[in-house]
């Protein structure tokens, strides 16, 4: 993460940060949120907030970790409101048939991401930041706003939960034969 190449308040630098970090932040939120549109909305909202606070950003923390922190918090807020929105959605669709599911989408849906969405989002975020983005504990702590000790605890808890869930269905190395359909089912935060 080129943290020292960004100047706080520079719009050109923020444009560069957006081009670099937007796909990575979007994938992080995709591992937390089941709905890709929600992940995109939260990612965009996170960059809006980051742009408004960009003049106050301090280069002592990596810029991408800083945006990750905003985005994860935004995703947590979104997930807290999912239950209320789900009730409204059920009432709105009352009496109508459920939308047809795309078989191709179901066939390509990764079950590892489904398992990630089944654990608490703070644990899932720590897993993605470590195993996908390659952050170390200090960078994860900066991205999540917690101490490094808390990061170690979360990584351990997330590993235990994922191993329990994944080994119950299939081995970690085998592809999924029966992708589950838990599109909007989240674990407790």
């Amino acid at each position: 993460m080129p943290a020292d190449t960004y100047q706080p308040g520079s719009k050109d630098d923020f444009d560069r940060l957006y081009q670099t970090a937007y796909p990575r932040v979007f994938r992080t939120l995709s591992a937390i949120l089941a709905d890709p549109e929600a992940a995109e909305d939260c990612t965009q909202d996170a960059f809006v907030q980051a742009f408004q606070a960009w003049p106050r950003w301090r280069p002592d923390a990596p810029a991408e970790a800083w945006v990750h922190r905003i985005a994860v918090n935004r995703a947590l807020s979104y997930r807290r409101g999912v239950k209320l929105r789900a009730v409204g959605e059920v009432l709105r669709r009352l009496g109508r048939p459920a939308p047809a599911k795309d078989p191709a989408d179901e066939a390509t849906r990764p079950d590892l991401l489904t398992a990630l969405r089944g654990i608490p989002p703070k644990l899932a975020a720590a897993i993605v930041l470590r195993h996908y983005h390659g952050y170390n504990n200090r960078e994860i702590a900066a991205a999540l706003g917690v101490s490094e000790r808390t990061v170690g605890t979360r990584l351990h808890q997330a590993g235990e939960r994922l191993r329990t869930v994944l080994e119950a269905d299939f081995s970690l190395g085998a592809p999924s034969a029966f992708p589950s359909d838990k599109r909007e089912s989240y674990a407790e935060d």
Binding site: Y18, P23, R27, P110, L113
Partner: protein, 174 residues
């Protein structure tokens, strides 16, 4: 799969997670922060616009009240409206005190001296006429009254009859 204490899921999990997340491609969408920046500038200018509007409304109302576009006239009008009497000594004084204190103020006395009343002042100086009316010489009563208090004024008249009677006595004795 080698699994360590620090990485209980092993490298296979990282490889598989990387492969699945790389398949997730974000849709192309324009950055929202570019649109939000315009609204942000608008809200940042809102206080200045509000202040300029208030000043403009105030200036128009003052222009309508005074009929003059000169701000100096506005300030004079405001001062006149706030202080209609410039001679009030203290703003804390009650109206009763003002009424009682007004005749004693030196400024009012100065106004009286400068007024054309001095032409009426000579009236008391011309009044000795009434004092001259009760002349003791013109009145016979003080001369005839036997009061001793008026003996000073009638000494000359009393001396004359006395001197006359004494002279008559002499002639009578003759």
């Amino acid at each position: 799969m080698p699994k360590t204490e620090d990485d209980p899921l092993g490298p296979e999990f990282s490889r598989r997670l990387r492969g699945e997340l790389d398949r997730v491609q974000p849709r192309f969408s324009s950055p929202r922060y570019l649109a939000a920046s315009g609204r942000r500038v608008t809200w940042r200018l809102a206080p200045a616009v509000l202040g300029v509007s208030l000043i403009g409304i105030l200036a128009l109302s003052l222009f309508a009240a005074t009929g003059s576009p000169n701000p100096v006239v506005w300030s004079e009008r405001v001062v006149t409206a706030i202080h209609p009497n410039g001679a009030t000594p203290t703003p804390s004084a009650t109206p009763q005190e003002h009424r009682g204190a007004r005749p004693a103020t030196p400024s009012r006395q100065g106004e009286d001296n400068s007024s054309p009343e001095p032409s009426e002042r000579p009236e008391p100086t011309e009044q000795p006429e009434p004092t001259e009316q009760p002349e003791p010489t013109g009145r016979p009563e003080p001369a005839e009254s036997p009061e001793p208090a008026q003996s000073h004024s009638g000494d000359s008249s009393q001396v004359r009859p006395g001197s006359g009677s004494s002279g008559g006595g002499d002639s009578g004795s003759d």
